[in-house]
C-alpha cells in the first residue's frame, strides 16, 4: 500500500516546540535589546499563545478532513529515523487518536489562556502566572508537543520517547510552580509514572525482539520492527514465544504494559499520586493533567495491549472490568469524604476514568465507543472543574469546602457554570457525561451483569457528593468573610464558556464525535467480540 504522506500532524505536534525555541531566543536577546522583565514575561505569554493556537487550527483542519467512515490510519507522515534499530518516524491518526488529538489541542489552548495573569490581583506577585514566566511557558509548550506526539506516534519507540517527554515538563511545572507540598507531589508523580515507563520499556523491547522480519517504509529490510501497526499484524506470533520465567510471554508483557498505562489512568490501587499532584499543581497544569494526561493511559491500552496482545487481553477481560468497577464506586465513596475541593475533583476523575476501563473490557461497540467518548467527555468536564476550583482558589486562597457558604448570592454566574459542570459530571441526561456513561453501562451490561449494576450505583454516590459540595459552597447563608468576592472575569469566561458549551452541545448532539471513532473502535473490538461470542452491531 502506498501511503499518501502529509506533514500536518508533524506541524501540529512541533509548532509548540517553535514556541519553545522562540522563548529561548527571546531570553538570549534580552540583554542585547535591554528588555525589562515585564516585557520578557509578556513576550513569552504571547509566544505561547501564538504557537498554541495554530495547533488548534490545525487540529480543526484535521477534524474537518478526517474521514470517520473510512476508518484506518490517516494523515500519515512516515519516514525512517534510526536505521540501526529499525526505528521510524511514523505519525498518523485513526478514529481512536483523532479525538484525543483534538482534545489535546483544545485543552492546551485553554491551559495557555488560563495561565495568563489577567484578573489576578496586582499585588499577588507570588501567583504562579507571575513567577518565572518564560520557563513556565516553555515547559508548557514542551508538554504540549509531547502530548500531541503520544497520540500521533505509531512507532513504538517514538511513542515511548514522547511518553517520557511528557513526564519531564510536568515534573518541573508541578515542582516549581505548585503549591506548598509541590516537591513531594512532583517527585511522587515522576517516580510513579517512571516506574510504569520502565515496565513499558521492557515490554517494548521484548516485543521488538519477538517481531519477525519486515520492511521499513522505504523498502529496506528490517529484522525487527517497532511499527505498532505491523506488531499488531504479527499478534499471533507473540503467542509462540518462549515463556518468561515460566510465565507465558504475552501475559507477562501484557501485564507490564497494562500496569504502565494503569498508573496513568489512574487505576485503583495505583491512583494515589493523582490527588497529590492535582492539589499541588497550578490550575492550568491540573487542567492538562486531568484533561489530557490521564487519557494517555487508556489510550495506550487501546493502542498497545488490545491490538498487539489480543489473547492476553481476552484473558484479562474480567480483571479490567472489576478494576473499572472498583474505580467507579470506591473513588466515589472517597470523594464524599474529601474536604479539599480540588482533591474531591481529583478523586472524581479517578471514579469517572473507571467507566473507561469498564467500557473497554466489554468488547461491545457501545462499551468501547462509550469508553473513548467518556475519555473525551472527561477531558472536557474535568478541566472545567479544575478551572472552577482555580477560580475560587484565586479569590479566597483556600479550597476548603466547609469554609465557604452561600457564594451563589454574589457569584451567580460562577454558580451557574459550576452547577452545569457538576451536573455534566454526575451524568445528567442532556449533558455529555450522560451519553458516555450510559453507553458504557449499556455496552457492559450483557457481558458483566453484576459488575455493571454495581458500577451503575456509582451514579447515586456521584450525585450525592456533588450536591453536597454545591450545598456547602454555594447555598445557604452567605459567609460574610467572602462577601467581597468578584464574579468571573474575562479570562475565566474565555476558558470556561467553550467547555461548558461543549458539554451542552455534545450532550444533545454527540454524533460528530461518535461518528469519528465508531468504525475504528468497532473493528478494534470485533475480533474480541467474535471470540466471546458477542457480536453486536453491524
Amino acid at each position: 500500500m502506498i501511503e499518501t504522506q502529509t506533514t500536518l500532524l508533524t506541524w501540529m505536534t512541533f509548532t509548540p516546540l517553535i514556541g519553545v525555541a522562540a522563548i529561548g531566543l527571546l531570553l538570549m536577546a534580552r540583554p542585547l535589546l535591554g528588555l525589562s522583565q515585564r516585557a520578557v514575561d509578556h513576550g513569552a505569554r504571547l509566544l505561547a499563545l501564538l504557537t498554541t493556537l495554530p495547533s488548534l487550527a490545525l487540529s480543526y483542519v484535521m477534524w474537518r478532513d478526517f474521514d470517520g467512515a473510512a476508518g484506518g490510519v490517516q494523515f500519515v507522515h512516515h519516514t525512517p529515523w534510526i536505521r540501526a534499530f529499525n526505528i521510524e518516524y511514523f505519525m498518523g491518526v485513526d478514529g481512536l487518536s483523532v479525538t484525543m488529538v483534538m482534545l489535546t489541542a483544545l485543552i492546551s489552548s485553554v491551559a495557555v489562556i488560563a495561565s495568563m495573569p489577567w484578573g489576578i490581583a496586582r499585588d499577588d506577585s507570588h501567583h504562579f502566572s507571575r513567577r518565572q514566566v518564560p520557563g513556565y511557558m516553555a515547559l508548557l509548550l514542551l508538554l504540549e508537543t509531547g502530548m500531541f506526539g503520544v497520540f500521533c506516534a505509531l512507532d513504538f519507540f517514538l511513542f515511548y520517547v514522547l511518553w517520557e517527554l511528557v513526564l519531564l515538563p510536568m515534573y518541573f511545572l508541578i515542582g516549581i510552580w505548585g503549591g506548598p507540598r509541590r516537591e513531594y507531589a512532583a517527585i511522587k508523580f515522576f517516580l510513579y509514572t517512571l516506574a510504569g515507563s520502565v515496565l513499558m520499556l521492557l515490554g517494548m523491547i521484548a516485543l521488538y525482539y519477538a517481531s519477525e522480519p519486515t520492511t521499513l517504509v522505504d523498502g529496506t529490510a528490517a529484522a525487527h520492527t517497532f511499527n505498532m501497526l505491523k506488531l499488531a499484524e504479527q499478534a499471533n506470533r507473540f503467542e509462540l514465544m518462549a515463556p518468561i520465567l515460566g510465565l507465558p510471554f504475552t501475559k507477562v508483557v501484557w501485564v507490564g504494559m497494562f500496569i504502565a498505562f494503569a498508573i496513568k489512568v489512574p487505576m485503583f490501587p495505583f491512583h494515589t499520586w493523582l490527588p497529590d499532584a492535582h492539589v499541588e499543581a497550578p490550575t492550568p497544569i491540573s487542567v492538562l493533567l486531568a484533561g489530557v494526561l490521564l487519557k494517555m493511559g487508556p489510550y495506550g491500552m487501546l493502542r498497545v495491549n488490545y491490538p498487539i496482545l489480543p489473547e492476553a487481553t481476552l484473558w484479562a477481560q474480567w480483571g479490567v472490568a472489576i478494576f473499572g468497577a472498583i474505580n467507579i464506586v470506591y473513588a466515589a465513596f472517597v470523594c464524599m469524604a474529601q474536604k479539599d475541593l480540588k482533591k474531591l475533583i481529583a478523586y472524581s476523575s479517578v471514579s469517572h476514568m473507571g467507566f473507561v476501563l469498564l467500557g473497554m473490557a466489554a468488547f461491545t461497540p457501545q462499551g468501547i465507543s462509550g469508553a473513548v467518548y467518556q475519555m473525551w467527555n472527561h477531558g472536557i468536564i474535568s478541566p472545567a472543574l479544575f478551572l472552577i476550583a482555580g477560580v475560587i482558589y484565586d479569590r479566597a486562597h483556600h479550597r476548603e469546602i466547609e469554609g465557604f457558604g452561600g457564594l451563589s448570592k454574589n457569584l451567580p454566574e460562577y454558580t451557574a457554570i459550576t452547577g452545569l459542570a457538576f451536573m455534566a459530571s454526575l451524568g445528567l441526561p442532556g449533558l455529555n457525561g450522560f451519553i458516555s456513561e450510559a453507553l458504557v453501562l449499556v455496552g457492559a451490561f450483557p457481558v458483566f451483569k453484576v459488575i455493571t449494576i454495581v458500577s451503575a450505583s456509582g451514579v447515586i454516590i456521584t450525585a450525592a457528593y456533588y450536591l453536597l459540595t454545591m450545598q456547602r459552597v454555594f447555598l445557604g447563608k452567605l459567609n460574610e468573610k467572602y462577601a467581597a468576592l468578584r464574579d468571573l472575569n474575562w479570562r475565566e469566561r474565555l476558558t470556561l464558556y467553550p467547555l461548558v458549551a461543549l458539554m451542552v452541545v455534545l450532550g444533545f448532539y454527540p454524533m460528530p464525535i461518535l461518528d469519528l471513532m465508531n468504525p475504528t473502535l468497532h473493528s478494534l473490538v470485533l475480533p474480541f467480540a467474535q471470540r466471546t461470542g458477542l457480536v453486536t452491531g453491524p
Binding site: K188, T364, L428, L439, L467, K477
Partner: protein, 712 residues
C-alpha cells in the same frame, strides 16, 4: 388494534417553546429584569408555555382526526447511534401522551400565570420563571419522548428542575438540603430505571442464557416498537425470573423515586420547601405523576407479569394508606397536601397495578386539577397569612377570602370522593377495578381494603385542613416581616388579586368538569369516554382476568360506590365535629389517651430518622472508611515503598563509600607509596645520571649481544 405511524413536524415545537423561554430568562433574565422590569420576564415566561399549549392542542387535534391506534411521530435527528443502539431525538404522540401533554401544558401554563402573582415580590423573578419553563420543557420531553432513553432525559430533567426549585430560596440551608435530598432519592430510583432499561434493551433484542448473552435481532427502544418485541419474547428469563418481571419491577423502582412511593417517598414532604406554585406544578400535578405515566406507558409489559403488577398495586395501596395516616396529624398546610399527594399517587399505582391503566391515568388527570387547586389555594392562604403555614394559626379565612375558600371547598369535595366532582369517579373506578381484578398474586379485595381505608382518612384530613383554615374565628397575623420581604402594610389577611383567584376558579372548574369524561358505565350505560379514548394505547389490558362479571359485577359496583360515599361522609362528619371550631377538646384528649401511637404517627413513623441512622449513616461511614483506607493504607503503602527505597539507597551509599570506593583508594595509595620509594633514585646529580646512562647503554649492548647469540 392496528397501529400506525404518521410523520409530523409539529411535536418538537411543544417542548421547544418552554425551552426557549428558559433560555431567554436564564441567560438574559437578570438584564431583562433590570432593563424592562418583571413584566418582560413574566411575558416571556408565561407566553411561551401558552404557545406550547396551543401547539399541543393543534397536535392533539391532528391526532383526533386520525383513526384509532395512530401515533404521530416527529423525528428530529439521530441522537446516539452505536452498534445496535440507535436512539433518535424523536417525539411521539399517541392517545396517552395526548392526554398527558394537554394536562401538562394547560395546568402548567395556569400555574405560570398564578406565579406572576405569587412571586411578584421576589427579586429572583427571572430565575424562577427560567426554572419553571425549563421544568415544563423537561416534562414535555418526558411525556412526548419516542423512546426510553429520551424519556430518561426528561425524567432526570424534571428531577433537576425539582432540585433547583425546591432550593429556590437557597439562602435557607434547609431548603437547599431538601432539594439535594429530593435529587439523591430520585437518583436511587433512576438507578433502578437504568438497570431496567439495560435489561429491556438487551433482553428484548437478544437473550440472556446460562452460557452468556446471545445476540438476537430487533433491538429497539422506541415505545411503539416495544409491544411487538414483548409479544415475541415470552419465555426469556434472567436470574430465574422472567424478563418482564425484572423490567417491570426495576422501572417501578424508578417510579417509586419519582412518584414518591414507599420506600422512596421521603423526599416529597421535604420538597414543600419550594415556593407553592412549584409544589402545585411539580410536586402535585405533573412531575410526581411521571412514575404512573411510566407504568401506564409500559402497560404491555406489566400486563405480562402478575408479580410486577402485584408489587405495583400493593406498594401503591400501602402508600395510599400509610401516607394518609401521616396526613391526619400534620399541621403545616402544605405538608398535609404533600402527604395527600403521596397517598393519591398510591391510588394511581393501584389503578395501573391492577391493570386498570385508564383509571390510573384518569386519576392522574383529575388529581392534577384538584390537587393543583388545593395547593394554589393553600398558596393563596399562605400569601394572605404572610408566609405562615401552620394551620393552628389560621382560621376563619373563609369570610375574607371567598374565592379561595370556595375553590378549596370544591377541590376538597373532589379529592374526598363525593359523587359530584371528578375525584369520586376516578378513585371509585380504581377501587372497583382493584376489587374486581383477578390478575394479581393476591386477592383483589386486599388493595381495595387499603385504598378504601385511605379514602376515609383522605376525606377526614382534607376536611380537617379546610375547617382549620377557613372556619372558626378569624386569624391574626403574627410576626410579619418574616420571610421574603413582602411589604404588606395591613395586618389583616385578605383575598388575593385576580391573577391568583382566576387561576383557582379555572382549576376548580376543571376539577368538577373533568368528571364528564369519566362517568361510569353504571350511570350512562356505555363505557367512560376516557376509557374508550385511551383504549388503543392500553390494548394489552383487555385480556386481564376479572373476578366478577355481568349482573353480579354491577351490583357489587353499586355497593362499593355507596360504601365509598359513606366513608367519605364519615370523614367529613368527623372533621366537621372535631375541627369546625377552635374549641373541641377531643383531638387533644385522644392524643393524650394514646401517647405512643400519637407520637409515632405524628413523627411520621420515624422513617426519616430510621433512614438517617441506617442508610445515610452506612453510606457516610463507608465513605469515611474508604477515604481513611485510601490515605492511611494505600497511600501509606506508596510512601512506605518510597521510604524503603530511601533506606536501601542509604545502605547502598555506605557500601559505595566503604567498599567500592575503598578499593579504588587502595590502588591509589599503593601507587603513591611506590612513587615515594622510587623518588629516592632521583639524586639530582647530573654525573650520576650520565653514569647510569652509560651503564645502561653498555648493558643494552651486552644484552643485544646475548640475545643475538641466543637466537642465531
Amino acid at each position: 388494534m392496528e397501529s400506525r405511524v404518521l410523520p409530523t413536524n409539529l411535536l418538537a415545537f411543544i417542548p421547544l417553546f418552554p425551552l426557549v423561554g428558559a433560555a431567554i430568562n436564564g441567560l438574559f433574565g437578570a438584564h431583562l429584569q433590570r432593563a424592562f422590569g418583571k413584566k418582560a420576564i413574566g411575558l416571556v415566561g408565561v407566553a411561551l408555555p401558552w404557545a406550547a399549549f396551543v401547539f399541543a392542542v393543534l397536535a392533539v387535534a391532528q391526532l383526533w382526526r386520525e383513526p384509532e391506534g395512530t401515533t404521530l411521530v416527529h423525528r428530529v435527528y439521530g441522537w446516539i447511534g452505536v452498534g445496535f443502539l440507535s436512539v433518535e431525538v424523536a417525539f411521539a404522540l399517541d392517545r396517552l401522551s395526548a392526554m398527558m401533554v394537554l394536562v401538562v401544558t394547560f395546568v402548567g401554563s395556569l400555574i405560570h400565570v398564578y406565579s406572576l402573582g405569587y412571586m411578584a415580590e421576589d427579586k429572583a423573578f427571572w430565575r424562577f420563571f427560567s426554572y419553571l419553563n425549563l421544568f415544563l420543557f423537561a416534562m414535555l420531553v418526558l411525556v412526548l419522548a419516542d423512546n426510553v432513553l429520551l424519556m430518561f432525559v426528561g425524567w432526570e430533567g424534571v428531577g433537576l428542575c425539582s432540585y433547583l426549585l425546591i432550593g429556590f430560596w437557597y439562602e435557607d440551608l434547609a431548603n437547599a438540603r431538601a432539594g439535594a435530598k429530593a435529587f439523591v432519592v430520585n437518583r436511587i430510583g433512576d438507578f433502578g430505571f437504568l438497570v431496567g432499561f439495560f435489561i429491556l434493551f438487551w433482553g428484548l433484542g437478544g437473550a440472556f442464557t446460562e452460557t452468556g448473552y446471545h445476540i438476537g435481532s430487533g433491538y429497539s427502544l422506541a415505545f411503539r416498537d416495544l409491544p411487538a418485541l414483548v409479544a415475541t419474547a415470552g419465555d426469556k428469563t434472567l436470574w430465574g425470573l422472567d424478563l418482564f418481571t425484572w423490567v417491570g419491577i426495576l422501572f417501578f423502582v424508578g417510579a417509586t423515586g419519582k412518584s414518591a412511593q414507599i420506600p422512596l417517598y421521603v423526599w416529597l414532604p421535604d420538597a414543600m420547601a419550594g415556593p407553592t406554585p412549584v409544589s402545585a406544578l411539580i410536586h402535585a400535578a405533573t412531575m410526581v405523576t411521571a412514575g404512573v405515566f411510566l407504568v401506564a406507558r409500559m402497560n404491555f409489559l406489566y400486563a405480562h407479569s402478575p408479580l410486577a403488577m402485584t408489587i405495583v398495586a400493593m406498594v401503591g395501596a400501602a402508600t395510599a394508606l400509610f401516607a394518609a395516616t401521616i396526613g391526619v396529624f400534620q399541621y403545616d398546610i402544605k405538608k398535609v397536601l404533600a402527604y395527600s399527594t403521596v397517598s393519591q399517587l398510591g391510588y394511581m399505582f393501584v389503578g395501573v397495578g391492577v391493570g386498570a391503566f385508564w383509571a390510573g391515568a384518569y386519576h392522574l388527570l383529575t388529581h392534577a386539577f384538584f390537587k393543583a387547586a388545593l395547593f394554589l389555594g393553600a398558596g393563596s392562604v399562605i400569601l394572605a397569612m404572610h408566609h405562615e403555614q401552620d394551620m393552628r394559626k389560621m382560621g376563619g379565612l373563609g369570610k375574607v377570602m371567598p374565592v379561595t375558600r370556595w375553590t378549596y371547598w370544591l377541590a376538597c369535595v373532589a379529592i374526598s370522593g363525593f359523587p359530584i366532582a371528578s375525584g369520586f369517579f376516578s378513585k371509585d373506578e380504581i377501587l372497583w377495578q382493584a376489587f374486581n381484578t383477578n390478575a394479581l398474586l393476591v386477592p383483589g379485595w386486599l388493595p381495595w381494603l387499603l385504598g378504601f381505608a385511605a379514602a376515609g382518612l383522605t376525606s377526614f384530613y382534607m376536611w380537617r385542613s379546610y375547617f382549620m383554615t377557613f372556619t372558626g374565628p378569624l386569624a391574626k397575623i403574627e410576626g410579619h416581616g418574616h420571610g421574603r420581604g413582602h411589604g404588606h402594610q395591613d395586618a389583616a389577611p385578605r383575598e388575593q388579586p385576580a391573577v391568583i383567584t382566576g387561576v383557582l376558579v379555572v382549576l376548580a372548574a376543571g376539577a368538577v368538569l373533568a368528571s364528564l369524561i369519566g362517568l361510569p358505565m353504571l350511570w350512562t350505560g356505555h363505557a367512560p369516554w376516557l376509557e374508550h379514548f385511551l383504549a388503543p394505547t392500553f390494548a394489552a389490558a383487555e385480556g386481564l382476568p376479572k373476578t366478577f362479571t355481568g349482573h353480579e359485577a354491577h351490583r357489587l359496583e353499586w355497593l362499593l360506590m355507596l360504601a365509598s360515599t359513606a366513608v367519605a361522609t364519615i370523614g367529613l362528619g368527623l372533621a366537621w365535629w372535631l375541627y369546625r371550631g377552635r374549641d373541641n377538646p377531643v383531638p387533644a384528649q385522644l392524643a393524650a389517651r394514646f401517647p405512643g401511637t400519637h407520637r409515632v404517627v405524628f413523627n411520621k413513623y420515624f422513617v426519616d430518622e430510621a433512614y438517617q441512622r441506617s442508610f445515610v449513616w452506612g453510606f457516610m461511614s463507608t465513605s469515611r472508611l474508604s477515604a481513611w483506607f485510601d490515605q492511611h493504607i494505600l497511600d501509606a503503602l506508596v510512601n512506605l515503598v518510597a521510604a524503603l527505597t530511601r533506606l536501601f539507597a542509604a545502605l547502598d551509599g555506605l557500601i559505595d563509600a566503604y567498599v567500592v570506593d575503598g578499593m579504588v583508594n587502595t590502588v591509589g595509595n599503593g601507587v603513591r607509596a611506590s612513587g615515594r620509594g622510587l623518588r629516592q633514585l632521583q639524586t639530582g646529580r647530573i654525573p650520576q645520571y650520565l653514569a647510569v646512562v652509560v651503564a645502561g647503554a653498555v648493558m643494552l649492548v651486552v644484552l643485544a649481544r646475548f640475545i643475538v647469540d641466543v637466537y642465531t
